[in-house]
Symmetry: C2
Subunit: 225 residues, 2 copies
């Protein structure tokens, strides 16, 4: 006779009261943190997530979402009619995991083995901007910067040294960067490639106040050493 195999929160790996160990039990499985990363800028649908995470299978995504939901990190909700679609979003506590990803990224960026040539999801790029914002230089400045990356649009609103980013349509911004993919923006913001070159290649379009847009780009930089 088999027990009905209750939803397990994935049984206690490390017998350890350390907060780090507990966190790893919650989000230490393969893919978990990357799923959370993709939700960090707002709820998404199952297939959006799948598309943003090259290599994840439907099964694994289902499992991770279920696990994260059981852990109180993810919330599954059905949008009100007429949309009536299912979306997954982070709980308030889930959103507070952003510093974990920032520290991981900051640390890994200092590795000599890092290959920045790989593809990048639009969310990854937008989150990296938040991490790489030079708060000293940005302080006092303010701007509403639009981003169009493939099908996705975001607005980053710089004010008081903070810069929340939201998935939002980009009308009413001071300027906007429209790019085919996130790598183009990596070249622009971190590679400091000349915008004119990218525009000439048809990979980038800058709308609105171009001077302000160029100034905005200078607020971001990879850690120096």
């Amino acid at each position: 006779m088999k027990l009905p195999k209750e939803t397990k929160i994935h049984g206690r790996w490390y017998d350890d009261a350390c907060g780090t160990a507990f966190a790893l039990e919650l989000v230490g499985e393969r893919w978990s943190l990357l799923v959370m990363r993709e939700l960090m800028l707002g709820p998404r649908r199952f297939s959006d997530l799948r598309a943003s995470l090259p290599g994840i299978s439907a099964k694994v995504l289902t499992e991770r979402l279920a696990g994260l939901e059981a852990s109180g990190v993810v919330l599954r909700e059905t949008l009100p009619p007429p949309a009536a679609v299912q979306v997954y979003g982070l709980t308030e506590w889930g959103y507070r995991a952003e510093p974990i990803m920032q520290e991981l990224g900051r640390w890994a960026a200092a590795s000599p083995l890092h290959d920045p040539g790989l593809p990048l999801s639009s969310v990854s790029f937008m989150l990296s901007l938040r991490t790489m914002l030079d708060t000293a230089r940005a302080d006092g400045g303010s701007a509403a910067a639009g981003f169009g990356i493939g099908e996705d649009t975001f607005i980053a609103r710089l004010a008081n040294g903070e810069m929340p980013v939201r998935r939002e349509s980009i009308d009413k911004v001071d300027f906007a960067f429209l790019a085919r993919d996130a790598q183009v923006l990596v070249a622009l913001f971190y590679g400091k490639v000349d915008p004119a070159t990218l525009e000439a290649a048809g990979a980038l379009e800058i709308r609105g106040d171009r001077a302000a847009a160029f100034a905005f780009v200078t607020l971001f930089a990879l850690p120096s050493g």
Copy 2:
């Protein structure tokens, strides 16, 4: 004919330039971060590591150490004679991973599911002190606090709002806490259990300047909510 199967850095999981994803390729395997945690306060021997990580097998520990060495996180060295034993330590870059663990711990501590009753390694406890130091209250203060936890001894040197912790014998400190295990110190520092109770139970001994020791304890607290 079989290829000699070169040391693989464990082949590319996520095809993703995001720093977070890359970090997870380096240290995202089960146990990796906990091994690093145990090395965070100084080099250890294989069997010390095994003893501090309840549940890890010799095989997995060997594999993780090799992987971390290949990634440039861990360094294997042989102590000069007459000791001549093998120890594993973090590289300079490896030590810079501490904020990752702090953020993980901080975040997980806010979970309602966290069970603080589990056993805790001495390193976990000492690292938690660094995380939970109330820098506002500690600023200006200074002290050399000794800790004896089981067989391990550490000194935490508070000065200028910083508090490095080192594996070191505890003579020449202002005061020292001697405890049977880390849980006793959790009760003292975070549970705010009366020291007298713990001493009466034979679980704790406080040496040196007791008043200063009591004041020191008040500098640490779990996040309020």
